[in-house]
Symmetry: C2
DNA sequence: GTGAAAGCGCTAACAT
DNA sequence: ATGTTAGCGCTTTCAC
């Protein structure tokens, strides 16, 4: 691949002048510019950004690190961040950690070594105080946590008010007349899942209802674990909760699978509400009530905030924790249906 | 951020020795190694990959360029490619073009300037002969086209046998007794969509059935366009096709929306089969018959093939066109149901 | 307006 | 085994 030096020779000018044409920093006469552009065309010249970055100490690149690209939640986040990055003339690269904390650490380290200008992190790690990796993150280009805000990482963050989101959904179920409401969560070592569980407790407490451990189904992102938790919970028979609240879309889809597999219907046998819209949501009959997060906006806003931090650095002051508001979309799955105790039943019919 | 020079000073050795410790190329005595490692820890040193790449002329990075990260098809591709890249010690970055040909070109150009070692391209551009951008792609790091194989880009490619995939699906509908089969496609300027249409024609021809233009619903990736095409086609009343074949998962989901919105059922009112599994497929009642592509494997194989090209270069010979085989998964939506002509009806009931 | 030259951080060939 | 040095391709003073 051609270099500026080669261009300079062909165009009969100095390398510095070529650089001025390419990056447009200094004024160049129309005549020489033309000659240089001609040479560029002839040699298929592409500026070597590696060399430029080494010199200028910036890459014009932002990275977003996500745990699981196949979970439809994250692509939406990426889209928002991508738009903001582009609007600010930056390039956004996406990296997938496969929900693996060790891989996440390695990839972040590479990105830092790559000298990206900043990193948007949706961490698979709930607590960065564990281990001695924290120092690595504190030095280097700015990191902003989005969606998930791990403990021990004192950086900017943009996330949804998770506690309010859950409280909102559970309060809605309460308002529909439900009193025996179960919650199913993802891994509780993740702060946002924890916050959502706490929102569930809060809503019940405000309604004067005592939380029961048997109604808190703490699970993981493993479909089998979710199925197991649901199966156990749904087997309660006439003691079965009248409503189930899921703390995220991935778990929700698996939970619905279990509910249907058990031959139960929403909302007749068990009412259902979840945080996040589930995939192909409009095909569900009846439609699923959801607490909707502004995912795209969260990505967009996060990239904006990260860029501000990059530009201003410490002048921006201490880490800024931004929270966006979710909103409730009421549909049919959360209704209250009077139920005779005897109706409770579990089957494996498809 | 610390440099090797600074490390050298602290450790009381030369910069070259530090480099040897960091990159492990030459043997270093345990004693000096220890001193250097100590300094690395103390200064939070992260090697500057920019500088390394400038020197070594490789970045250890592969890029995958996809048209639309929110379409669940592409994340699966990314996963496969990511695994292969990791297994070969490379870093994979993902870039989204938003199905925009101009943006795609710009992003590829940046990646080339970034000197990634190779690019996996799922192009939004059907024909690279148009315009004068071809030269840009031919020079620079190797590109491999996957899934979609645009015209005019003479590079390695890995894709599915699209013609066979469509022929397989349509042949299945024929075997179920359907004779009047419509097809709905994405944009036909994309070669893979074209190949699939051609597979549809082939299957009908083999069965001795003449294709009718009114049964070929050429659409785009715009949901409204798909809806319109379906609406028009489904309005045919008693003349309505007895089966609909969709050439991809995105279109399929929108088509099903239209079918249901028209108050029709699969397969009773219109049988349905599609290439690709649709999102939340197992929730559809009856389940949707699909021609399934080996998406993950395609991504994996593509990254492998690209790496071979990177290692061996022209020694590998002319561009290699690899085709993977799809397979048919028969479910309930494709059955044949005898239909009284009068049953045809269109409504807007939800 | 243009050219000459230094240097970004690193690797690798060579010298010791 | 370790130090010295040149140079990757670019930007950016500083002269002219």
């Amino acid at each position: 691949m051609a270099t500026q030096k080669e261009l300079a020779e062909i165009a009969g000018v100095s390398a510095g002048t070529v650089s001025n044409v390419v990056s447009g920093s200094t004024r160049v006469s129309d005549h020489t510019r033309k000659k240089v552009l001609e040479a560029i065309r002839k040699l298929d010249y592409r500026p070597n950004l590696i060399a430029r970055s080494l010199k200028t100490n910036r890459t014009n690149t932002l990275a977003i690190v996500i745990p699981e690209i196949t979970n439809p939640f994250f692509p939406k986040l990426v889209c928002g961040a991508g738009l903001a990055a582009r609007e600010h003339g930056r390039f956004l690269i996406v990296v997938d950690t496969d929900e693996d904390a060790a891989l996440e650490l390695e990839l972040i380290s590479i990105l830092q070594s790559q000298r990206v200008d900043g990193i948007l992190l949706v961490s698979a790690t709930g607590d960065w105080n564990v281990g001695d990796n924290l120092a690595l993150l504190q030095s280097g280009p700015p990191i902003l946590c989005l969606d998930r805000v791990p403990r021990g990482l004192n950086v900017d963050s943009v996330s949804v008010d998770n506690r309010a989101a859950a409280a909102m959904g559970v309060a809605h179920l309460l308002s529909m007349g439900h009193r025996r409401i179960a919650v199913i969560t993802g891994p509780l070592n993740l702060t946002h899942e924890n916050e959502r569980l706490s929102g569930y407790r809060q809503a019940l407490q405000r309604a004067g209802i005592k939380t029961q451990d048997s109604l808190i189904w703490a699970s993981t992102f493993d479909p089998r674990a979710i199925e197991e938790a649901c199966h156990k919970g749904l087997l309660l028979g006439s003691d079965r909760p009248s409503a189930l609240f899921s703390t995220n879309g991935f778990v929700a889809l698996e939970a619905l699978r279990s509910i249907y597999a058990a031959g139960l219907r929403t909302p007749e046998d068990i009412a259902f509400t979840t945080i996040d819209e589930i995939a192909a949501a409009d095909f569900f009959q009846p439609a699923i009530t959801s607490v909707v997060q502004p995912i795209f906006e969260m990505g967009y806003r996060a990239a904006e905030a990260l860029l501000e931090r990059i530009e201003k650095g410490d002048a921006l002051g201490a880490p800024r924790k931004e929270r966006l508001s979710p909103k409730l979309v009421v549909r049919a799955s959360s209704s209250f249906v009077h139920r005779a105790p005897s109706r409770g039943r579990v089957s494996n019919e498809g």
